[in-house]
């Protein structure tokens, strides 16, 4: 399922949505990150196979260490950070 909208239209929709709700609740941020994590977990093999085909040779274990390992580390820390929306001085 891909969008039939043009890039400009999608950008304008995203921009309008970001202006309508400037604050994004913590639960919504966590939900987006969880969906991204699920996208990766459920399609890891297919993504690695696509990278292998793109390079004309790049094994799944290499993609695991070179791409996915750092991604997972980033996401773990990102979830912890998502809630720090306000900081007093």
């Amino acid at each position: 399922m891909t969008s039939s909208l043009s890039t400009q239209e999608i950008f304008e929709r995203a921009r309008a949505a970001s202006r309508q709700s400037a604050e994004v609740p913590l639960a919504q941020r966590h939900d987006r990150l969880a969906r991204l994590q699920r996208l990766l977990d459920e399609n890891e093999a297919a993504l690695a196979a696509a990278v292998d085909a793109d390079f004309g040779g790049r094994g799944a274990r290499l993609t695991e260490i070179a791409d996915l390992f750092l991604l997972r580390a980033t996401w773990g820390a990102g979830r912890a950070r998502a809630g720090r929306a306000r900081r007093c001085t």
Partner: protein
């Protein structure tokens, strides 16, 4: 002032991410995830050089996200140019310095702030105090040959004390054989991404040979030189390369390691400082004073001491370039803040007496200011 101040962290709005081909998942979904964590909406333009993974990401993202939440845009350089011209609230680019300039120009027309993760020639210094050449060569080979050298922070060239070139070459060859017992058909060793990139790397070697440099094949015997038809390029060392060669002027981005002997540690620093500021710098040795001389005497995006690549994986360290190698940094707290607006909010107190300093600036103003000056 009796009032209070605080910083309210808010999403920037819509973040554009333009990503490269060399790490087609990490360098796309990594910045996108950080931008989403900071509450932004994301449009992502992955590289056209990895069409299958880019198309699959577009399909998967469309399945999990509304377009106005997170969307992937596919296409070549023309699409990338249109994408960079959109008035994003922030534009995050990873790629070459040449394309980064164009992206920055396009973004500047909209006053869109940018993060530019670029490249450059990252030096690797082996100090005279280094005793374990075998161990060092293994770490350098790993950093250089991960993804067959197609890594923005790969050690680009090696600086070591004159006279140790052949000892290093032997240690490097042994390290390559340990990491990659065979090259052709080895899934752990990446192919060069395209015929064009492969041809460029071969041309760099041909030019070096023609100019009198020595190109040493570092690959293991299995598979044999010249048998590769799959773009898995055998690792090489280049000795005696002249400074004017493209090999020493351009970021290599492949499994070729030029070795430059130095007569003094100072000469290594001077060579580094004569070139554009690199994205990464690597230093190996046991002499803390020599290490600090390099750390203080050079400017690079990041540094790993006694290893390669590792500073990119440390969650507490910002990752980014400086000068020609980039603008801004991400990873960790720095990355979160890169995609966050820190809004200053001052809440006035009911006891505030600011009106004492309002015009007209007469006698009362003079008395209050005199008192304030005594306090400050």
């Amino acid at each position: 002032m009796p009032g209070r101040g605080h910083i309210q962290r808010q999403p920037l709005g819509v973040v554009g991410v333009i990503s490269p081909w060399n790490y087609p998942l990490q360098l796309t979904l990594g910045p996108a995830a950080t931008a989403l964590a900071a509450g932004n909406r994301v449009l992502l333009k992955p590289s056209e050089l990895t069409p299958r993974s880019s198309a699959l990401m577009a399909e998967l993202v469309a399945r999990h996200f509304a377009p106005e939440e997170f969307h992937v845009v596919l296409g070549g350089p023309d699409v990338a140019a249109e994408f960079a011209a959109l008035p994003f609230d922030h534009l995050f680019f990873t790629g070459s310095t040449a394309v980064g300039r164009k992206v920055a120009e396009a973004a500047a027309r909209n006053l869109t702030p940018t993060t530019l993760e670029l490249g450059g020639k990252s030096p690797c210094i082996v100090d005279a105090s280094c005793t374990d050449l075998e161990g060092v060569a293994l770490k350098i080979a790993h950093g250089k040959l991960l993804n067959a050298g197609q890594t923005c922070i790969a050690p680009d060239y090696l600086l070591l004390p004159r006279g140790r070139e052949q000892a290093f070459a032997q240690a490097y060859q042994a390290a390559v054989a340990r990491l990659f017992p065979f090259i052709e058909g080895n899934a752990d060793y990446a192919a060069i991404v395209s015929e064009r990139h492969h041809a460029r790397l071969l041309a760099l070697l041909d030019e070096a040979r023609a100019a009198g440099a020595t190109v040493q094949d570092m690959g293991p015997p299995a598979g044999g030189a010249g048998s590769d038809t799959s773009r898995r390029m055998r690792p090489t060392l280049v000795l005696g390369a002249a400074p004017a060669l493209r090999l020493l002027q351009e970021e290599i981005f492949g499994p070729i390691l030029p070795v430059l002997p130095c007569d003094t540690p100072r000469q290594a620093i001077e060579l580094i400082n004569a070139a554009p500021r690199p994205l990464a710098l690597y230093w190996f040795g046991n002499d803390a004073a020599a290490r600090d001389q390099v750390l203080q005497g050079t400017v690079s995006g990041g540094v790993t001491v006694n290893d390669t690549l590792m500073h990119i994986a440390h969650e507490g360290l910002p990752f980014g370039g400086v000068g020609d190698s980039g603008l801004g940094a991400y990873h960790g707290e720095t990355g979160f803040l890169r995609f966050t607006h820190e809004k200053s909010v001052f809440v006035q107190s009911r006891w505030a007496m600011g009106q004492l300093l309002y015009p007209p600036y007469g006698e009362r103003f003079a008395r209050v200011m005199s008192m304030i000056r005594r306090l400050l």
